[in-house]
């Protein structure tokens, strides 16, 4: 049986990947990619890759730079510049070296010849072993990496700190100057702190409100109280009644 695919679906070209050859008693198995010229919605984008990028969705979970590279090779001998998969999704951008490659890729794709797909190496137990092995890098290197990162981070911090200082000197439209503790390190930190303060204030005022005057001083208060009690009792009674009815409907009172 040959695979019958529509020429396009929602503007996407379906590309069959042959993931299992047919045998005497089994049909071949195809995985379908959907490819389309990339269109960015960002206006005035300075990105000059747009016109040589192909957007592919329904990528196999084992799509990698090398497997996409061989895909490109198969489709019009195009050369892959970069493959940008979207994290946790089955789609990604395939950036080719030039605009012409891009058109060649899509033209070839339209022929819908099954593309061979080879697994990413390593697979299986080796892959999972390696994944765990690399958790233990050389400690010298790790130390170096951490040190470098921290240095860069310190510089970035300093920039942010400068922003805070700048903000400090601003007088806002109501004529207030923001006061920030010397330990605040970034604007984000200030935002969080502000939020926390607001919450605190809200809580405090709510607490204050709750602080009640003597509740059983006047007789009307006592009466009120009794009535609320009674009403509570009745409300409870009604609730209980409903509950029991519900239990009964669920055939609960069968002891045997």
């Amino acid at each position: 049986m040959t695979l019958e695919l529509p020429d396009q679906i929602n503007g996407f070209i379906p590309i069959p990947l042959l993931v299992r050859e047919s045998t005497s008693d089994t049909e071949p198995v195809y995985h379908i990619l959907y490819a389309k010229k990339h269109q960015t919605h960002k206006t005035g984008s300075t990105d000059n890759t747009t016109d040589r990028t192909i957007f592919i969705t329904n990528l196999p979970v084992d799509a990698s730079h090398s497997s996409i590279k061989s895909l490109c090779h198969f489709l019009g001998n195009t050369i892959l510049e970069s493959f940008i998969p979207e994290k946790n999704y089955n789609r990604g951008l395939v950036v080719l070296v030039d605009k012409a490659s891009c058109s060649r890729f899509l033209t070839k794709a339209k022929q819908q010849n099954p593309v061979p797909w080879s697994p990413q190496e390593p697979t299986g137990s080796e892959a999972y072993y390696l994944k765990n092995r690399i958790k233990y890098p050389d400690e010298g290197e790790l130390q170096h990496e951490v040190d470098t990162y921290m240095e860069e981070f310190a510089q970035a911090e300093e920039t942010k700190r400068q922003q805070v200082v700048d903000k400090l000197n601003l007088v806002d439209e109501d004529g207030f100057t923001m006061v920030v503790g010397s330990k605040r390190k970034s604007l984000a930190g200030i935002a969080t702190a502000q939020k926390a303060t607001e919450q605190f204030v809200a809580e405090q005022s709510a607490k204050k409100k709750r602080k009640k005057e003597k509740a059983d001083f006047y007789r009307f208060q006592i009466r009120e109280q009794k009535k609320t009690e009674m009403n509570d009792l009745l409300r409870r009674f009604q609730q209980d009644k409903l509950k029991v009815k519900e239990l009964k409907e669920r055939k609960r009172f069968k002891p045997y």
């Binding site: 996407f12 299986g124 233990y136 130390q143 981070f153 109280q225 009690e229 009792l233 409870r236 045997y256």
Partner: protein
């Protein structure tokens, strides 16, 4: 204001313990009046206020104010009902009558809902009138037949009597010993003196029962049948037997009666055959059967001579002895009581009738008591404890006349509600020991009181059956409780105490546990459970005297067994329970009856089931302490009992005592060894079989540990060793000096460090499920921590490197590693990388530490906001860094407090794992579920067996309606010492009845709120509230929301129900319990886990001790669990395609062949329009839509699985 309201309201509905008690004792006198006045209410609503005034005694309010109040009331209602619609509705439904009922029940019953449930239950139990009419018609007909029978008075010799009866093809059901052929006395035929309906049907307390209701029809034999001295030497019983045959012949002769006639024994008493009538009509037969019982006028014999301490059966050589020497003969209380009870029908019927008349709620309370007893396996037949509906009614009737020492103050008041009668009766049973020195004596004579008094003069010197507990009738000299044995009386008090405590629980509704749950499933009820086959019948043991004092050989064996087990187990056993074997246990009325053409039925049981409720602190002790050596006679008795096993030992405190020392076994509780020995020594020829399931075989033992054969089944020794190793490491880390910041604490955060990992830990072992245990290093707070998550994590890594550096310098024998891992597996969408410190201690234990500090949570919170996710990162942070240490502390404390908890939790984990659910039910959730039988043990006391506890958890899971109810666990209460004060106020060891109301309220409120936020159950189907997690969803929450939780929860319930069904039906197949059916899955990926160390049990090939790991490559190879890694990878990659379930073996790595099972997500199975964001593999169909490309997905899985995948079944 809001707070106060709820407090007040709770008092109203529930009352505190003290209050409730006060209400109950103070009310009676006042109560009648209250009801009366409340009744007025229903006529005129306005009176309501003045009533309240009466009650409150403040007398401040006057008429004017009443008016004011009415106005207020209206305002109030306007406020309450927002829409006018609801207002009118509420006005309609809250009638004055409701007000009355609501107020009344809040005082007379535990709470409104309790009363309503009682009402519903009683309705459910009521006999259908449709059938009682047919029954009444029949009874009328039967009465007519008996009255009309030609009754020419006749005197017959034994020979004539036998001949007459056998001519009608009947046998005389003579009890043993049969009358000897040379007896002189005559048998008589005479018209019955009277025919009456007695028993529960007559007082209208009969309830529907699955096996049908037995109606007692009393035939009072004329006194003229008997002579004054007929009470001795079975003469009465022989004459009675003839009369029974005579009546049976009349009934059988009348063909118009639609019944089958057979003989049966009244309450298994071999002296008292009765006639059992079963209906030929199947509809009636299902519902009723009739017992024709036989009595005699109370004046027939001199009751004084049948008092329990008297002898009425002269053994052969004394048969001519006169009354005086009779006093010297051994008492025959069972015989005497058996006879006396035939003389008391009319007086007791009248006594109970009077009680019903005097006390309106008596009948309802009788029904409640009846059901309560039944659910606990009690009834009037001695095989089931000898305490049933009749004994309950008589006790209540007696307690209405007094019940204290002086007899002046009454335990039950006429004005009590059914609930109050029920509760007070139970409390009386629990609080008063009427088993010997004191007994309860009563009289059926009007105006006579009931009192607790010494009945020593009636109790024989050495205990004989019939004198275990005393409800003594002063007039007839009958001990009403003569059928109650010592063990059943003790069990009864135990159950009464537990239920009293449940009734005093002001926080949780315990209705189900008290009335609806059946407590007789042995696997759930007992901690140890055996079947004992009696030695063959033996004339030398079962001597003539024994034949009088015991009902049967079986009765004799049980009593003897009870005696030796009680002595031998001592404080280890709280209760011993003897029940007919499940296969023979049948309440089906026809099972014990026999044809009227035969003298005797054939149902001597040759075996009995023994259930033991153990004391958790005592039962696993290795030494049975005897008396000190100075006490010669006691020591001799002890030596006699234990034989060679007993030896003199000196103890640490210097005392020298006789004692017996036992051995621990990894598979057998100490109690089992003791019972086996006792039977071997004292019950020659008996056989014992441990019928409680040995599920411990499903729990892997650590075979690598030397000396594992002498550890207790519940030993946590190996866990302790690892825990200590952790603490040592923690101390070393904490005391490192050259760090820029101080370490506040180093805390354990791993299942093996709270004694709940499936495998027991062992040094250098990487095959266990928690071999590298996690710990958290908490640094003190400092402003110098960076303000950015990634920088923060990097800083932590820097710290870890410093710690590692110092550790290496300081601890030469410690292997120290620092690593970083992608946070993807750990906190998805969190920081990029997380560092860790891994150490292997000198003893060979591995720990993995991560760092936390005060700022973390805030930064993770910010991460949520930046990435617009719903609290996922911060939630995961809490799970993995902060709350996990609290959880660890709580569980660790509790596993020390409850010695059986650890094994239970581990077994439960195995269960979840065997059913492929472990991948979706967090360890913490399983650990909390396993706490249920310990922290909230109702209706039992906390288990002293891991197997029992395991079953109880499953029984709970089978009934837990997680959609509607939260699980509330009072984790702190049980662990703090102030708990012991609470114990003092409860009557039993039941746990969980004294939860604090505000705590419970808080959790309930959180649950209601949670349900409104998660109506589709996509967040957290199961809600488990604890002190440290009042949100209830810390561990059960799904991140992100999905349908999976609901599927897993539903499957858990279904699987638990299957087990529960096995238990209640009595066919337990353990292997089935731990084998999951795979038919429900869409796809099965069979994998070969290369991390497996092979089956440890098979061939013991790995029994050599593990050795230290040499290099890093080998360490990774040994410690990684590739099967699990593969599952995790697939689960992540196919999160929108498949729901995957993973089963390893219990510890994942001992089993090579494993399965990853999957279900296609339901919502993607239909062909649908192409969308760019379909995150699952599709293929276009002809009609320009796409459908799931299953074949390609399976290929893909096979591709990435590589060498792991053996085959994939679809």
């Amino acid at each position: 204001m809001a707070k106060r309201k709820s407090g007040d309201f709770s008092k109203k509905t529930n009352g505190s313990v003290g209050q409730a008690a006060a209400v109950e004792t103070a009310l009676p006198a006042k109560k009648q009046k209250v009801i009366a006045s409340l009744a007025d209410l229903s006529e005129e609503e306005d009176d309501f206020d003045s009533d309240e005034q009466d009650q409150d005694d403040d007398g401040e309010e006057d008429e004017d104010e009443d008016e004011e109040m009415d106005e207020d009331e209206e305002d109030d209602e306007e406020e309450n009902g927002d829409a006018s619609q609801t207002r009118s509705k509420s006005k309609q439904s809250i009638s004055a009558q409701d007000v009355q009922i609501a107020r009344e029940t809040s005082e007379l019953f535990k709470s409104n809902i309790f009363k309503m449930q009682i009402d519903e239950l009683l309705t459910e139990l009521a006999l259908s009138e449709k059938y009682t009419q047919s029954l009444d018609k029949f009874l009328f007909q039967l009465n007519h037949v008996l009255q009309q029978s030609s009754s020419r008075e006749q005197e017959l010799s034994l020979g004539q009597a036998v001949k007459l009866v056998s001519s009608k093809k009947l046998a005389i059901p003579f009890p043993d010993p049969k009358p000897s052929p040379d007896i002189k006395y005559k048998f008589k035929i005479a018209h019955p003196e009277s025919i009456n309906i007695v028993g529960s049907y007559s007082i209208k307390t009969a309830v529907t029962q699955p096996e049908g209701v037995s109606i007692d029809l009393l035939i009072t034999m004329p006194s003229s049948l008997f002579q004054e001295k007929d009470y001795v030497n079975y003469r009465y019983f022989h004459k009675r037997a003839f009369y029974v045959a005579y009546i049976a012949s009349i009934i059988r002769a009348d063909e118009s009666l639609p019944v089958n006639v057979s003989y049966t024994l009244q309450h298994d008493d071999p002296l008292k055959p009765i006639i059992r009538l079963t209906f030929t009509d199947s509809k009636l037969a299902k519902r009723f059967n009739i017992n024709v019982v036989f009595g005699v006028a109370p004046t027939t014999f001199e009751s004084r001579k049948l008092s329990p301490e008297r002898n009425c059966v002269r053994l052969q050589q004394d048969s001519t002895a006169d009354n005086n020497s009779a006093k010297m003969l051994p008492p025959t209380p069972l015989y005497n009581s058996s006879l006396l009870s035939d003389t008391t029908y009319s007086s007791y019927l009248e006594f109970i009738h009077r009680a019903c008349h005097q006390c309106e709620a008596f009948k309802d309370a009788a029904k409640l008591g009846r059901l309560w007893l039944r659910q606990r396996g009690f009834d009037s037949s001695p095989r089931h404890g000898g305490f049933g509906h009749f004994e309950w009614c008589l006790l209540m009737a007696a307690l209405l006349q007094g019940g204290d020492r002086s007899g002046s103050s009454k335990v039950l008041m006429a004005g009590y509600s059914s609930y109050q009668l029920f509760k007070a009766t139970l409390t009386f049973l629990a609080n008063n020991d009427i088993s010997g020195r004191l007994g309860l004596s009563f009289s059926t004579v009007k105006g006579q009181n009931t009192k607790l008094e010494s009945l020593k003069q009636f109790v024989p010197q050495s205990p004989v059956p019939g004198t275990a507990a005393f409800l003594f009738d002063r007039d007839s000299k009958l001990n009403v409780f003569y059928k109650v044995s010592a063990w059943s009386y003790s069990l009864l008090r135990h159950e009464a105490a537990v239920t009293s405590d449940l009734l005093s629980d002001v926080v949780k509704d315990r209705f189900d546990a008290i009335f609806l749950e059946k407590l007789t499933v042995p696997q759930l009820r007992y901690d140890a459970f055996f079947t004992v086959t009696f030695p063959d019948f033996n004339n030398t043991i079962f001597s003539p005297l024994n034949r009088i004092n015991y009902r049967s050989y079986q009765h004799f064996c049980v009593e003897k067994l009870a005696k030796v087990l009680k002595f031998g187990l001592g404080s280890r056993a709280r209760q011993l329970v003897f029940t007919p074997l499940p296969s023979l246990y049948s309440t089906n009325a026809s099972s014990s009856s026999w044809s009227i053409s035969k003298r005797k039925g054939m149902f001597e049981e040759s075996a009995i089931a023994v259930g033991v409720i153990l004391d958790p602190q005592e039962c696993e002790k290795l030494v049975t302490h005897g008396p000190p050596s100075e006490d010669a006679s006691a020591a001799e008795k002890f030596r006699q009992f234990w034989g060679k096993k007993s030896e003199l030992r000196r103890f640490q405190d210097g005392s020298i005592m006789e004692s017996v020392v036992w051995k621990h076994s990894p598979t057998k509780p100490v109690v089992n060894s003791i019972v086996e020995y006792i039977l071997y020594r004292h019950f020659k020829g008996s056989e014992i079989e441990n019928t409680h399931d040995n599920i411990l075989k499903y729990l892997p033992l650590q075979p690598r540990f030397p000396g594992h054969k002498e550890r207790s089944v519940i030993s946590t020794q190996l866990f302790q060793i690892k825990y200590q190793a952790f603490q040592q490491t923690a101390n070393i880390i904490q005391n490192l000096s050259e760090l820029p910041l101080r370490i506040r604490s180093v805390l354990p955060a791993s299942s093996s460090l709270r004694y709940t990992s499936i495998s027991e830990p062992c040094a250098y072992d990487f095959t266990s499920d928690d071999s590298i245990a996690l710990g958290i290093i908490e640094f003190e707070s400092s402003s110098r921590w960076p303000d950015d998550v990634n920088a923060l994590e990097k800083t932590k890594t820097a710290f870890l490197l410093k710690i590692a550096d110092q550790l290496r310098k300081q601890e030469k024998n410690m292997v120290v590693l620092v690593g970083v891992e992608s946070a993807d597996d750990f906190i998805p969408n969190g920081p990029d990388e997380v560092g860790f410190l891994q150490v292997q201690t000198a003893q060979g234990y591995s720990f993995k530490f991560r760092i936390r500090n005060d700022r973390d949570e805030q930064l993770y919170q910010r991460l949520n906001e930046e990435k617009h996710q719903q609290n996922t990162s911060v939630h995961l942070y809490q799970q993995k860094y902060s709350e996990v240490t609290t959880h660890n502390r709580v569980i660790h404390t509790l596993s020390l407090r409850y010695p059986y908890y650890s094994a239970t939790a581990r077994m439960l984990k195995v269960w979840f794992k065997s059913h492929l659910l472990a991948s979706h039910v967090r360890d913490e959730v399983v650990e909390l579920l396993a706490l249920k039988p310990f922290l909230d043990s109702s209706p039992y006391v906390p288990p002293s067996s891991a197997v029992t506890a395991f079953y109880r958890v499953l029984a709970f899971l089978s009934t837990w309606d997680w959609r509607e109810e939260p699980l509330v666990l009072d984790t702190e209460k049980a662990s703090d010492a102030s708990k012991d004060d609470v114990v003092a106020t409860t009557l039993s060891a039941v746990e969980g009845t004294a939860m604090s109301l505000p705590f419970y309220q808080k959790i309930s409120d959180a649950f209601s709120k949670h349900r409104t936020q998660d109506p589709a159950l996509t967040l957290a189907p199961m809600f488990i509230g604890t002190k440290y997690d009042p949100t209830g969803t810390l561990w059960t929450q799904q991140i992100p929301r999905s349908e999976v939780g609901k599927i897993v929860a539903a499957r858990t319930t279904a699987l638990a129900r299957a087990v529960d069904h096995m238990l209640t039906s009595g066919h337990v197949d353990q292997s089935l319990m731990f084998t999951s059916s795979l038919v429900d899955f869409d796809i099965l990926i069979h994998i070969k886990n290369p991390s497996s160390a092979g089956d440890v049990d098979a061939g013991y090939k790995n029994l050599q001790l593990p050795r230290p790991v040499e290099d890093l490559d080998e360490l990774v190879e040994k410690s990684v669990n590739i099967g699990l890694e593969f599952y995790k990878d697939l689960a992540k990659k196919y999160q929108d395609t498949l729901i995957l379930f993973y089963s390893g073996s219990p510890d994942d790595k001992t089993c090579e062949e494993q399965i990853i099972a999957g279900l296609w997500k339901r919502e993607i199975l239909q062909p649908q329009k192409f969308k760019v964001n379909h995150n699952f593999s599709t293929i276009p169909t002809k009609s320009n839509v796409v459908e799931l490309n299953k074949d390609a997905i399976i290929e893909e899985i096979a591709r990435i699985g590589g060498d792991l995948v053996v085959k994939i079944d679809v």
